[in-house]
């Protein structure tokens, strides 16, 4: 297992190099530099000094090399605009994004798994059709529109929840979480349904019913457990994606998260901050992916054996090849 995790971390390195190169160079090619944006705050001499300091008097590759040199030493650099280390900026915004990602994935899990199971159990019924149409509607709704509609209804007209910011605890979390959760729900409901349908007609379910297992236990223990792998995969992907910051929804609700930090940084040509945020989100996504892969092993014992090495497997079986060869 440790070896597997180590290998996965090693595989991340070329992706990080590639992503940073791609983003850094692309942003650098964009017309205008950060110096044009902050020009008004400095005297011409200071600006010249800064140009030299940031390496804007040399080639892109010099700046990228410098950035990577710092990165290798665990330093994400200092933001041009905020003049604080990117790591601190990121950590400042991370709690809000974590909260939002957690809440929206939770909303989606709580609603879509029961809905998906229900749809699968009543395959072809009105319940099934209605929930599938609802899922498709959720999938087709642009986030920013849903967010604005929720604001119009629940903040402006009913006044139940605040329309922006992350200042009122759980109250300010509800609307953005529903906004992101709806999009996630659609995919998760569809996955749950199709995965359950695969399982629901299987022989072991018929056996379980035949031996008198109560229907509730049949669904929860026998069916759902076997249908979980695709469901976990989708949840993992969604968690990873929302952790990168939901650019659009954070913008609608003026949510102080990473998505908004990244967008602002792009607009201000703050290459270092953008690259840093994207690298961090790539790392986050891989960590979640790794957790998901490990979770597979716990959900499905058949997969666990793939992680253990040959010697360990032998130990578990309690026989060495020699013993087996001797016929005992």
């Amino acid at each position: 297992m440790t070896k597997y995790i180590f290998k996965r971390i090693l595989m991340l390195i070329p992706v990080i190099i590639g992503v940073s190169l791609l983003i850094f160079i692309m942003l650098d090619l964009a017309p205008g530099t950060v110096l044009d944006i902050i020009a008004n705050d400095y005297s011409p001499e200071q600006l010249e000094e800064l140009r030299h300091q940031l390496g804007y008097d040399r080639s892109v590759f010099y700046r990228y090399g410098k950035y990577m040199w710092d990165l290798v030493h665990g330093d994400l650099g200092i933001s041009y605009i905020y003049k604080t280390p990117v790591w601190d900026l990121y950590m400042q915004r991370l709690p809000s994004t974590l909260k939002l990602a957690g809440a929206s994935v939770l909303v989606s899990i709580l609603l879509s798994i029961p809905l998906g199971i229900l749809a699968a159990r009543k395959h072809g019924s009105i319940t099934d059709n209605v929930s599938m149409v609802a899922a498709l509607l959720g999938l087709s709704m642009p986030n920013f529109w849903l967010g604005l509609m929720l604001i119009i209804l629940f903040s402006l007209n009913l006044g139940w929840f605040p329309s922006s910011g992350d200042t009122e605890g759980i109250k300010s979390l509800i609307l953005p979480a529903i906004t992101i959760g709806t999009g996630l729900m659609a995919t998760l409901t569809r996955t749950t349904r199709s995965s359950m349908l695969d399982v629901i007609r299987s022989d072991y379910l018929r056996t379980a019913r035949a031996k008198g297992v109560p229907e509730k236990a049949v669904i929860r223990k026998h069916a759902l457990k076997n249908a979980l792998i695709p469901i976990i995969t989708v949840i993992g992907t969604q968690m990873g994606r929302t952790l990168g910051g939901s650019v659009v929804t954070e913008n609608v609700f003026s949510w102080p998260g990473i998505g908004r930090l990244t967008i602002e940084a792009v607009k201000q040509r703050d290459t270092i901050t953008v690259t840093g945020c994207i690298i961090m989100s790539v790392i986050m996504i891989s960590i979640i992916q790794l957790i998901v892969d490990i979770a597979y092993a716990f959900v499905d014992p058949r997969l666990k054996s793939q992680y253990s090495t040959a010697s360990k497997r032998r130990k578990r079986i309690g026989r060495t090849p020699e013993v087996r060869a001797n016929g005992t």
Partner: protein, 296 residues
């Protein structure tokens, strides 16, 4: 033994259909796909012909005396802050959204499908290089990728199309490669190789035509997400700027009047949703029709 008359007629009925006839037959039975298809046909008809029958003045002409009127019989979707009728503006906006959706997907199709085909067909080092680069592109969230590309190129309609297109290339590479992998060891490919056909010829004449269904489904569904991405970029202020009647831009403009004039944000968003829904319905239907094994 003489086959009885009934069997023969049934067999004839089924034999008559070509592969596409069969798909069309299955698609026609799918209500959702038909609704989506009809909606799209109407939208296309409107978008393609609107220049001929709609007075431009209705779309851009200002009438300050009729500003911010709520929806009524005279103005179905109400009027905006300049007194322009929102219904006509939304209708005109279909041109932008459909064009952006299609051109963007065309960009990713043109780049992604050949790359995926080459990766799947040749395998080995070529595949490794292409797939690792695809991994890098797909590691960056699509919307951020589009944001970065648009800020490099500058915001204009064409650049918006390119940005959205670039961000959905990885999807096409993956789908095409996966499809090609299932075909590349088929006997007809081997036969073509034995006949000494060039690799390029085999890919385009033998391999890709047999991988069409997943690619068509991917294309339909991608148009839907491209329309959403493009209007999201407009919403973030990086795409098409108001007062152009693109749906995302209309919605952004309406956002300033959200207090009291919420219909200004409601209708453009509704238009986006219906269009995207139509593409999703059709895409789902196509997937079911083309691959009955996947049907649920």
């Amino acid at each position: 033994m003489e086959p009885n008359q009934k069997t023969v007629s049934v067999a004839k009925k089924y034999r008559k259909r070509s592969a596409f006839g069969e798909i069309w037959h299955r698609l026609r039975k799918n209500k959702g796909a038909m609704i989506g298809g009809i909606l799209l046909l109407i939208l296309f008809a409107v978008a393609l012909t609107i220049d001929f029958w709609l007075d431009q003045e209705l779309v851009i002409g200002q009438n300050l005396r009729a500003r911010l009127k709520a929806p009524s019989a005279a103005h179905w979707f109400g009027t905006d802050e300049m007194g322009r009728d929102l219904f006509w503006r939304v209708l005109y906006g279909s041109r932008y959204s459909l064009a952006i959706g299609f051109v963007a997907v065309f960009v990713s199709f043109i780049v992604g499908v050949p790359l995926g085909a080459v990766a799947g067909y040749f395998g080995g080092a070529v595949e490794t290089v292409i797939m690792r680069i695809t991994d890098i592109f797909s590691a960056v969230p699509a919307i951020l990728m589009a944001v970065v590309v648009v800020s490099v190129l500058g915001s204009s309609t064409i650049n918006l199309m390119i940005a959205v297109g670039v961000s959905s290339i990885p999807g096409f590479v993956r789908v095409t490669r996966a499809a090609v992998l299932t075909v590349r060891n088929e006997e007809y490919v081997e036969a073509a190789k034995a006949l000494g056909k060039s690799n390029l010829y085999i890919i385009f004449v033998h391999v890709l035509p047999n991988c069409l269904s997943p690619i068509i489904v991917q294309t339909t569904l991608r148009v839907a997400s491209a329309i959403v991405s493009a209007s999201s970029l407009s919403f973030l202020g990086l795409g098409i700027k108001p007062p152009a009647p693109e749906w995302g831009a209309l919605l952004t403009a309406g956002r300033n009047y959200i207090l009291g004039y919420s219909y200004l944000t409601f209708f453009p968003g509704l238009a986006i949703m219906i269009t995207v829904l139509a593409f999703n319905l059709l895409g789902d239907g196509l997937r079911d029709a083309m691959d009955p094994k996947l049907k649920r």
